[in-house]
Symmetry: C2
Subunit: 630 residues, 2 copies
Amino acid sequence: MAVENYDVVIVGAGPVGLMLSTCLARWGYKIKHIDNRPEPTATGRADGIQPRSLDLLRNMGLKRKIMAHDPAKVYEVAFWDPNSKGIHRTGTWASCPKFIDARYPFTTLLHQGLIERVFIEDIEKNGVQVQRPWTITGFKNDGKDPTYPVQVSISHVDDTHSETVRTKYLFSGEGARSFVRDQLGVKIKYKDPISHVWGVMDGVVRTNFPDIKMKCTIHSDAGSIMVIPRENNMVRLYIQVASSTDKDWDPRKTFTVEEVQEHAKQVLRPYTISWDRIEWYSVYPIGQGIAERYTLDERVFMGGDACHTHSPKAGQGMNTAFLDAVNLAWKIHHVESGFANRSILSTYESERKLIAETLLDFDARYAKLFSARIPSAGEVAGASSAQNPAEENEFVKTFKASCEFTSGYGVAYLPNTVNWGAEHPAQHPLFLNYQKGTSLRTGRILTPATVTRVVDANVVHLEQQIPLNGSYRMYIMAGEPSKTSAPIKDFATHISNPTSFYSIFAHKDTSVDRYHELHNPHNDFISVCTVFNAKRADIHIDEMLPPVFARYRDHVFADDVWDQRVPDAKAAAHAKMGLSEEDGGVVIVRPDGYVGAVVKLEGGAGTCEALNKYFSVITGKRLGEERAAL
Amino acid sequence: MAVENYDVVIVGAGPVGLMLSTCLARWGYKIKHIDNRPEPTATGRADGIQPRSLDLLRNMGLKRKIMAHDPAKVYEVAFWDPNSKGIHRTGTWASCPKFIDARYPFTTLLHQGLIERVFIEDIEKNGVQVQRPWTITGFKNDGKDPTYPVQVSISHVDDTHSETVRTKYLFSGEGARSFVRDQLGVKIKYKDPISHVWGVMDGVVRTNFPDIKMKCTIHSDAGSIMVIPRENNMVRLYIQVASSTDKDWDPRKTFTVEEVQEHAKQVLRPYTISWDRIEWYSVYPIGQGIAERYTLDERVFMGGDACHTHSPKAGQGMNTAFLDAVNLAWKIHHVESGFANRSILSTYESERKLIAETLLDFDARYAKLFSARIPSAGEVAGASSAQNPAEENEFVKTFKASCEFTSGYGVAYLPNTVNWGAEHPAQHPLFLNYQKGTSLRTGRILTPATVTRVVDANVVHLEQQIPLNGSYRMYIMAGEPSKTSAPIKDFATHISNPTSFYSIFAHKDTSVDRYHELHNPHNDFISVCTVFNAKRADIHIDEMLPPVFARYRDHVFADDVWDQRVPDAKAAAHAKMGLSEEDGGVVIVRPDGYVGAVVKLEGGAGTCEALNKYFSVITGKRLGEERAAL
């Protein structure tokens, strides 16, 4: 029997596997996706979607479907501490405070199953079915077929059927107990030697506890509980039932529902609580571990819980999984479609492992903040109002740094091939960085900005105008038209050179009708937006832009919407990015929304030259005028 | 055979019939709904949802389903006039300018069929099926059964089956050709003697006309066209193909698709246009007519196009239909559920006919503005920037007034039984009006305001917190807690009197478990919100509110969100309603969102007394302390 070949074999249909499958299925890859559970998650499990993840889901056109389930939204966290009567609230603070420039400054709570279904519908539309209940039984990167170097064996969980396939990539999204990781011999490094057993319970309650619809951390003399509001009028209670620091530590220790309910009643006194129904209940051990490698050969990859496990307290699990998957998806896509050098695949581990390490460090600090130290009322009030930064103490500062991280906006990838930096092989005087010419930082998310679309006068979110289509996003922040008219013309001339980073990947098949193509009229790897510092009605696309940019009619914007964060700016988007409102600049954003490079917009060949150099490193091609002159 | 009895028989499943059916089905009424078309609208027809209608759809929980179709959004209108080269743009202006405080300052464009389907799904969930293709063949209010006084005969359009039923109410949403209206002998009064024949065409085009994604009015030497962007990359072109002022006027005059396309090509020169596909095309005559009566007996009612016809230019048809239906729905509900006096039914005609008359007047003026007079560039620039009100001319002023009307926010019902006014039978010194103590006007929509919900710290839209549940909305704008603590306590004491407007309708069946009931814990006719001028974290519901108001835990808000419209206010919601930020006030809002009465919040019995008087008039009951003393 002929062995079937796939682009990717994905093991596990939890958040990380589904996100990878969704991206690659949309971009046309042939996928074998298996999961060892007979059905998708029915209740419970992960539930917190952080602000940054909501941006990502919106960018994929999936946010509305998530929101259709009417999830709970957490804007603030309340802290309760013991007092003589039982417990009292010592303070509250924003879960995503105003100093973070977030579109959606809240955590969205919805059970994992509902979220999974949104992804499953999407991959099915693109012809991928999750094969259930099937499991992986073996694999090897034997290179027998250079195109499909990895052989994978899978079988039905009851062992009645089995298949052997070949693939370009194998991905393990199997969760903490990963067969692939075990087979590779990749060790888990335990950051914090302390393990915990957690009980978690979703249900509908009756209580006079006033903060039952807030996220709460409750410390009482009877123990601690974390409260998380849920969709459908439910509430989740997290309770740490055992710790490896306990004298009688037993990682298999368990509690009945009734015991946890009784425990909750004790903790909440003087308030009362009772349950109308319990939807889900589980007890599970958690260790703070991180895989030493995410891949050994850049053919077999792992992500999500297979690579990092930690407490559920900060609601980071699913979010980290999503970002693992997206990070890998576009890199595989760029390599397989011939855009990028295979070496960019190494940045998956270096970027995502750093985030996992930061997450585990944070998780340890977070646990310490909540468990070991009870903030006083005065300290918390300082965090809540934050009107006088001078009054902030160490506790508040730590909290603030944590907020940025937990919201997902703290992710900061280090300079590497795709994130320009002072040590990047591409060097050119026009590169800008946050110390010179821009406040944007490579490896961090593009600053959100509200602008007016010229063609239809719609007020829109600039950062959402290019969907997650696998393309780099080139934002020409075009400053004042009178100042930048010549530089933009020059830039257009140079990128139209057939060897430029923009033109070298031009669509080969020119017979395809691309009239209605909004995002990729010229090539599949770069989508362009232009933003003028001008009033919408004063922008005449065909008169003010060379044809190569004017072609992106739906991506021309007026930077004319006032923003409370930069109240004195005439062009708020320019100002928020720290670019000259007169002279603008060119911002290259990776397909996953992180800034790759920022270049000055200047007359002559320089702007294009700098970008040719940057993309030469990524693509491994010699780009630009030099070669044209050969 | 026994004749089946219904609460309402609805004829016609267009926007007006479906909206009525949706409201009444949700509120538990037994409905017979017929339509003479075999299928719902497949393409074309009405398509513009105005800002106010979007508020209403959101209030019904239907907005997200409408938006899931990715409708086009019109933020601005562009004006094109003839010049030597063909046409040129003379200016643009906002379709819902900033001076209107709208949540959604745009028109939403989506074909009627997609909108209808959202309603049809909703009524089906409530057990109502539209019976198709069936038509009405006769009816009479013979009173033979006092509970179901109207007999209605209906039959399949091919006459194979027929039924006779009895009903409390018969509603005609049949459109311009109304059998019911004809049978009643109600005349159409033609406001403007001029009739027109319109051609309308939906399709996907290729053009270099720069404003193809804007709403445009184009005058050229070759004729005039109106451009409306649509969902799915389509565009609608409206073209007036004949007018009764023409020498060769023929109301049956028609044009082929090709003729209209050729016409469009001429009008758009020097720009080019061609069509990839045509989705819908129609030619139809329009007269500006209004029915002399909307009901003769307050048992048989009409609404929507059966009562008013006009040009499609301002996109008002469906919106007026929606508001006709909602207006009637809650009044029927209040009468049939024993809350209101039957006399409130007369306000349906008086309120909605006034709006139709305003619409027709406006339509005539609008047509004149667009057809008879071409604005000069200078005038349009004035409207567009509007930075110096002193420079505004008559044209701009007319436009501005029109914007308020076309957005749906211009609706202003006159004082009557439900809209308090100086002549209202209920008189009490504590009533406030826009000349004294508030900027709210009875008969107009409640001012939108953003506030923070206390229980979960969610930032929410106050005006949306009570859904369209058929209840009056009582907003206790509670000012500063230190100032209003005593008045609120007194108010609670007096409305807890069994004969008060609030308590007299208390749920009879106290055995029902209403623990999770958010909106109607005490009665079915009034839902309460309380808004404090305080920071969220400083509001302790159980300590600061008497139990009757504290019971609405999910409806207690902090007026602590800054608003650009009242930048210096501490409590923006209070300020926008023109109420004292210290002393607050009580705002009664009708079930459809229009202000009914505003009363001062004062210590003692006065606040409750004033509202007892107001609701005595509506309910026909003697409410309040007097009776309790009997």
